[in-house]
Subunit: 313 residues, 4 copies
């Protein structure tokens, strides 16, 4: 399959359309877009069948993308407004999957000590937990409060344990009816870094379509539905460079200065070649705004509030 | 049972002896002490039978206390030396319980976002994890490397889940043969704050002897042996005040200025009365050095290095 | 002078009245109190003359104390409401001292790396700075925007330089007309920890009344008026213990079980005796809530917003 | 002047040689290189005259570059070894400029809250300060201890004050004889991120050669010699993309598939074109390793220890 180098269904569908010169919609995919005020756009990608799945390498289901402009300099009011959009979309998905009092487990993926990967654990920190209160002091809560618990299981590199292995045990012991997973994603566009939230009702399938299904966090592996909330926090450095090359060759062609060699190159993926040049060492080079610390803080607030209001009545 | 207000077996044994005017050793308890250089003292309390258990409310087993002077201003060398003492004592206990290649799970209890409670998660951050490397790239490790994994399960207040519920699931899934739990403790003595490590081969029994056994982290609940490494990081404010009152009445008596009323008070526990006075609100007031951030940092290094060298050959 | 062990004028005045059995107001001091809603109390202590100064060891001037209940669990709304009270009181004081466009320098005292001392630097982080924008891009700001700059000069122990030496140079170079200093204070009452703000128009006089005037941060040393905003973040451990002893002796007396010896003790200050017992090492033991990290975060928001709205129209 | 997009004299000299097809050394520049063990290389660039200055846009003086391999996974020993190389080179430069007991001021530039910019403030945190001890308790220090003080003045965006304005005042008040400034730099090579230290005896000249001399931190503006220690912590995203394009065109040429248009492009700087494409918003996009937090931590240790041993006998 094509290496999309993005986890966003919306970007994949755009890349697929461009690569295959498709003018209308891809067969098996439905898309809608809605603007909310000046700064927020909600796009919905629905993958309807296997054809849609194969086209963009994502499971059948719903993928909602919320783009928020200028989150870096967002005021308290704007953070609140953005979180309300998250609440609305998330609530619809939750209500489709479980009943109002069914217990939910929130899972913050990622490494707290690596800033662009810290979003999941930071969100968990701000979730309103009720499970232990319902157990030990139920009277202090309103009738009908949903049981909510949350964990940050860490990453394989620092725990030595697959996330699935940790979650399976917890699910067996505390028996939630739904899991909401928060994770940092890769995107193709630097404009989307910490400015976009994707909500999917299909769970998380790392290396989707490439096999390796054993480690996916989905209803198949965990036995209960999994909602995935993902936020792009970085772009691979090699992606930036490869995209620049594409733009460059395109420009050469437009000015009618191209030749057979360049035209052929245009159809190849320069990513692998560039990756080799860029990464002579074993680092994981990413492109990220210098202000990533602050962006992650604002985005964590949006996501945590969005969840807190969506999970209780 | 007497409210010792300390988790250290050594302090409990001293308090018990004093309260009961015991000159020699308590029946059912054995104690030894060794000085290592200028700054380190290793004390071992062995609880031999039920009498010892009842006396100080701790399970039958071994409790090793390592006191380190001046850790606040410790140089790199002194941190290294202290960690070597931890390694030596911990290694003996591990070798008594499991074979050299048996897998070990390290568990950092506590809340990373509350400084005096952050020791466990900070230590986990510095543990050398091997389990995933043994699984995916075994050739890069030396023959005979032990499988080591680690988690920081969070605290009930922020996860809504009992630590035992989380650990049980993980143990079922990854099947370690031994657990080492790191936790922050309460002590009676401010001199011991972040300067003492207690290593126990009995696991962790919160509210020991008071019932509530369901939540203990021991071989009884987890099915495998549990080593507990605890570091005092605070003293309850009410403990400080109550201890001051004791000293005061003692001084009055020494100067032969006491009276029946005071003498009677001396035998009571003033802790509850003081607690009420001190804590008009629902805070958890503690006495801690202003420099607690730095002390926790140094102590985390001592404990993490101590473990890293004890668990591999 | 009496060792008040508190930097709050309000607490000192209460202690002075009690110690001297004064029923009405202290000569040279005026006090008013106002409740704002359920959770906020504003008390104003005005020191009118030298008699007032000598009584409580504070300079002639205005000391406003804002007490906020339950700040630990404050919602976004409550933080906002508290900050508005700060804005109102601070604005009055600023308008008494300078004109609306006179430049202001904000100074965050304290050590960022020691949680109970980090309030000043954290507030500075959230101040809306305009001085450089007025200089380089004045058009992006509204007409009449005041020039605001801010520094966190660090503490003597980590810089080797007196705060006054650093500030003097900055004042000489950038010529503000007013300084607002934010600092963490000691208090007598644990209920006030990170729940009270004192605003004083007299600057900061460390060791007030004890001499050592060289290092005070006031109009005398800096040549421009200095507003001091102080927040209690800890109580000395010895203070807690000494206060407990006082309560204890009082109780003994009430029950008519006292004797001459105790009665005499009652009049002494037990603080020095206790300090010796408590502090066998060179730590600085303090009483602080375990939740200090979160409290400081909330209080920083209150103070920073309070300032931001007070300094611009 | 050519836009080098690097602050390292060594990289500039290499770029200049390449751009001008110079085989030997640039006129007015001298270079030496020395390998120390497996992992460390020390290169020295000496700019001898105006010709050298003009060639690479750096002031006459000495620029020492220390490259350290594999710092990310450095053990305690390797950090120590690297710091010893820093000590040796720094000591030589210091001894050329001042006498053994002349007071030194250490200045950590940068923003503590933006990880790739936090190196300066983090180093300052670990410097051994003596100035206040020499003043208040000289007897606890060895005879001949040098007076050392340190500040982190913050950045213009968060203080509203030029660094020079802050430092001038401090220099006037405490009168050091030498300043050592630590700063994060931009580099051309991702392999150098947090792996290289440049020590220069010429101070810091932002926008060197472009005018704007007013804000330089040098003997000209501060009146005393300034040593600059710089560590690359990021590469501009546009630099990565432009360099990739260069490599690409070079490859096309090598394969004899180029044409006049491409050949002409090769001589232009594609940086500005790419910058526009990359940065549609007002972020400051950088390329940095995901592991930057840990790299900065290790590099801070190397620099701080390097300084601590260089400044005292």
């Amino acid at each position: 399959m094509y290496n999309f180098r993005t986890d966003l269904a919306l970007e994949r569908r755009d890349l697929y359309k461009k690569a295959n010169n498709i003018e209308k919609e891809v067969d098996g995919i439905e898309t809608t877009e809605e603007k909310i005020g000046e700064d927020i756009t909600v796009s919905k990608v629905k993958i309807l069948n296997e054809n849609g799945e194969n086209a963009i390498g994502k499971k059948k289901g719903n993928y909602i993308t919320i783009d928020i402009k200028n989150l870096k300099i967002a005021s308290e009011d704007e953070i609140q407004k953005a979180s309300e959009v998250v609440t609305k979309e998330l609530k619809d998905i939750i209500n489709n999957l479980v009943s109002p009092e069914d217990p939910i487990l929130i899972v913050g993926l990622g490494n707290l000590y690596v800033t662009p990967d810290a979003l999941g654990p930071r969100v968990v920190q701000d979730i309103d937990i009720t499970r232990h209160i319902l157990e030990y002091m139920p009277n202090v809560l309103e009738q009908g409060t949903r049981s909510v618990s949350a964990v940050s299981p860490g990453v394989l590199g620092t725990t030595g344990i697959e996330t699935l292995e940790i979650l399976k045990g917890i699910v067996d012991n505390i028996k939630p009816k739904l899991i909401i997973v928060i994770d940092a994603l890769a995107s193709r566009s630097i404009a989307r870094i910490s400015s976009t939230i994707q909500i999917a009702d299909t769970g998380i399938v790392p290396g989707a379509g490439v096999g390796n299904a054993r480690k996916e966090l989905t209803i198949n592996t965990l036995g209960i539905p999994v909602i995935a909330m993902g936020v792009p926090t970085c772009v691979e450095a090699a992606t930036i460079a490869a995209d620049s090359l594409d733009l460059f060759i395109q420009k050469v062609q437009e000015e009618a200065q191209s030749n057979d060699f360049l035209n052929k190159l245009q159809d190849e993926d320069k990513y692998e070649m560039i990756k080799e040049v860029l990464a002579p060492q074993d680092y994981n080079f990413i492109v990220t705004p210098k202000e990533i610390d602050e962006l992650i803080e604002n985005m964590s607030s949006v996501v945590a509030r969005g969840i807190n209001f969506a999970i209780q009545k």
